[in-house]
């Protein structure tokens, strides 16, 4: 087995744009679930809305990058309102079902044949990142060290993605120390108590849903920068992986989502490398390469179950800051 390349790949995953997208989406989910206690199972929907809004405004309307990102944000705000209006007054698991349903509706709509002209149907869209690549300040040369040697273009995607992650982290950190954050956390602990203090619980929940949704939509933009938009990517599996990443790090923590996303991808890459390596070494001859890729999803599911039962607060979390008691 080539341990060098296996570990190198895993190390590369630590700062890959996909990891940044997961971290950003997990920060959004952390605002929803960790701080406000909202069970959002439709984060993939927010990501799809952001990704498609960015790609369509770029390709169809020729908007510049900043305007397309703004479009993604606006689209996710609208989406959050559509989700929040019917459900935020109901019990938490209704929000769970509605968000997951809405995310699937988004996926069905963008992959329908009749909208192929706009959304690319089941094939998706590509070629929207040219404007973004043109802004690349790093030139074409490859630089970096060890496993982290990339071309300037690849660095630009990474710097942009992690820059957004950093920005989101700072925003969330400051917000949660503010009076607004205290109210939101109060809602998570006891909605009725906060209501009796004269706060408009519904409005605060909606604001939290919008904020986390905007992070999710930006995650969608970061997610597609190094690849094409494909509707198949935005299934419920994506949401559940982000949940796993979030719970791994700790839901109501500042760095939990980031570390969770990093560990999630590094471990996925490691296990895949090891399983494929063992297969190639003839230790697991009964497994095909496709099956080797499937084992890691089984492990993700197991990890999710074990985490939520035995360490629901995650690696960094504080058991008191948990919104599991709906």
């Amino acid at each position: 087995m080539d341990w060098g390349s296996i570990i190198g790949n895993a190390a590369g995953e630590l700062i890959s744009p996909t990891t940044a997208a997961y971290a950003l989406a997990a920060i959004g989910l952390s605002v929803h679930f960790g701080y406000a206690g909202l069970l959002n199972f439709g984060q993939a929907g927010f990501m799809a809305v952001g990704a498609y809004a960015f790609a369509i405004t770029t390709l169809e309307l020729g908007w510049p990058v900043w305007l397309a990102i703004l479009a993604a944000i606006v689209a996710s705000v609208v989406f959050a309102f559509v989700l929040g209006v019917p459900t935020l007054r109901l019990r938490a698991d209704y929000l769970a079902i509605v968000t997951i349903a809405a995310a699937e509706i988004v996926r069905f709509v963008v992959s329908t044949v009749n909208l192929t002209a706009i959304t690319g149907g089941s094939q998706g869209l590509s070629g929207f990142a040219r404007g973004f690549d043109a802004l690349n300040p790093f030139g074409d040369a490859r630089f970096g060290f060890g496993p982290w040697t990339y071309s300037g273009e690849q660095w630009w995607v990474r710097v942009f993605g992690w820059g957004l992650v950093l920005l989101a982290t700072v925003i969330v950190f400051l917000l949660m120390r503010s009076p607004w954050g205290r109210v939101v956390k109060g809602i998570r602990e006891d909605e009725d108590a906060v209501r009796s203090l004269g706060k408009n619980v519904y409005s605060y929940k909606m604001q939290a849903l919008v904020l986390g949704g905007v992070f999710g939509s930006l995650a969608g933009v970061v997610f597609i920068l190094p690849r094409a938009v494909q509707p198949g990517n935005y299934g419920t599996a994506l949401t559940f992986f982000i949940w796993t990443a979030l719970l791994l790090g700790g839901a109501a923590t500042v760095f939990g989502p980031i570390v969770g996303a990093m560990i999630f991808w590094a471990v996925l890459s490691l296990t895949n490398g090891v399983i494929v390596g063992l297969r190639d070494a003839g230790v697991l001859p009964f497994i095909s390469t496709t099956q080797a890729g499937q084992i890691r999803f089984i492990l993700v599911g197991l990890a999710l179950m074990l985490l939520v039962v035995f360490r629901p607060q995650g690696i960094f979390g504080n058991k008191k800051e948990l919104s599991f008691n709906v």
């Binding site: 209006v85 084992i295 039962v309």
Partner: protein, 442 residues
């Protein structure tokens, strides 16, 4: 007003499209689950000619295993129009002038006597020659009768299909609602119980060639054991530990991922058809329906009546409703809540396994078939009122008929979206559902 030229999902997802050559299998599947099944290896016929640099569209037309000769397929697009005719091996192919969008239309009148497309209102496929040079187009055909249909015939046919789908949805959804009612848990791994039944029935009947009755009993017994195992091995310990409901909900999500990918690991990503020799069709007025579907509807109705009898007339059924109503009060009145929950799990798993068998007969067996309709079950249960068994029945029938009926007017790949939009509207207007009670919604 069904959109002409829009390809629609056939009764079996396998009947969709596969691209090949240059090791590029482009799935043009337009079925709702198509995107999920993207990596599914589909049975790929060998290339239709020596074209390696030109663009071709082609396929094989068979009835059962019998290749059909002399069937014409019209390929059009961008001012190009050519007819491909099948040879003795049932193959046809048309060379295209270049990349682009084309439509392939099966010329129904060229089919031999007594052969009809499986899906008469879906004989036009959109072909997109983009990344692949060659696209394969399948037109599932079988014995049947070609008839001109009016809009009312279509509506009526869809109604019957929807009734069938709604009934088997109800079998599965009653399990969800009973588990929710007695334990408060929304079971996201419920779809996997449906897949479980379908896969084991497929393995017993088609792969191992067992007798149908034996396979049925074995599958239901395994399903029951699966349900008992989930409760005894996972959910009862969690209840004992006092794990919160939301945590348990996430556990069911994890369980669903594990079980689903185990299915994928062992079963593979393809669609398999359960072959128990019930594919002959029956005509009821304008509706042509397979014998299997007819039997499926009968079985569903009988099982639902049995469940109704169980819940309203037997001691343990009444105890179930009592626990569902108020678990603490039921426990205080001497009902063994744990036992009721165990029975509910076993019953839910058996019913859902049966629904899986019937759904497998109806649509073929895939590794994620249960997960693909899980949200429809949730929609049905929410529509009827969470926790109410009869509500689940009503909700399932509405959702089943609505999804099928909606394909008359809107693109078929959006039919599940319709059901989910209905779900959101219901929560907006009447969150407790049709038969639910207000205090449940919190």
């Amino acid at each position: 007003m069904s959109a002409p030229g829009s390809a629609r999902s056939a009764a079996r997802p396998i009947g969709l499209l596969v691209g090949f050559l240059l090791a590029l299998a482009a799935l043009l599947s337009l079925a709702p689950i198509g995107a999920l099944a993207a990596e599914a290896p589909a049975p790929t016929p060998s290339p239709t000619g020596d074209f390696t640099t030109t663009f071709t569209v082609g396929g094989v037309i068979r009835s059962g295993d019998e290749p059909l000769e002399g069937v014409e397929v019209l390929v059009e697009g961008d001012g190009f129009s050519e007819v491909g005719t099948t040879g003795p091996d049932g193959r046809w192919s048309v060379s295209l002038p270049g990349r682009g969008e084309y439509t392939a239309t099966l010329q129904v009148e060229t089919l031999p006597e007594g052969i009809a497309p499986r899906d008469p209102d879906n004989v036009t496929r959109q072909v997109n020659i983009g990344t692949t040079n060659t696209v394969n187009v399948l037109f599932p055909t079988g014995e049947g009768r070609v008839s001109t249909t009016t809009i009312w015939d279509t509506v009526f046919t869809r109604l019957v299909y929807g009734l069938n789908f709604g009934l088997l949805l109800a079998l599965a959804a009653i399990g969800i609602t009973l588990i929710f009612g007695t334990t408060g848990v929304n079971n996201f791994a419920h779809g996997e119980m449906l897949t479980f039944g379908a896969i084991f029935f497929y393995v017993f009947t088609t792969a191992l060639g067992w007798n149908v009755a034996l396979a049925l009993i074995a599958t239901l017994a395994l399903s029951a054991a699966f349900g008992w195992g989930q409760d005894a091995g996972l959910f009862r310990p969690l209840r004992r530990k006092g794990v919160g409901l939301v945590q348990v909900l996430i556990v069911t999500i994890g369980l669903s991922i594990v079980v689903r990918y185990l299915f994928l690991f062992f079963f593979g990503g393809g669609t398999e058809n359960v072959n128990i020799g019930l594919s002959s069709t029956v005509s009821l007025g304008p509706v042509t329906i397979t014998l299997a579907s007819l039997i499926s509807m009968g079985v569903s109705v009988a099982m639902l009546l049995l469940v109704a009898f169980f819940l309203t007339r037997t001691r343990i059924g009444k105890a179930t409703r009592a626990v569902s109503d108020n678990a603490s009060l039921a426990a205080a009145s001497g009902i063994n809540v744990d036992r009721v929950i165990r029975i509910v799990w076993v019953m839910a798993a058996t019913l859902t396994g049966l629904a899986g068998i019937l759904y497998g007969l109806y649509r073929g067996v895939t590794w994620d078939m249960g997960f693909a309709i899980l949200l429809l079950m949730f929609a049905a249960v929410t529509l009827g009122g969470l926790g109410s068994a009869f509500g689940a029945l009503v909700g399932s029938l509405i959702i089943g008929i609505l999804t099928e009926l909606s394909t008359v007017w809107i693109p078929p790949d959006l039919r599940y979206a319709v059901a989910l939009i209905v779900l959101i509207l219901v929560l907006l207007l009447r969150p407790q559902g049709v038969l639910g009670r207000r205090e449940r919604i919190g």
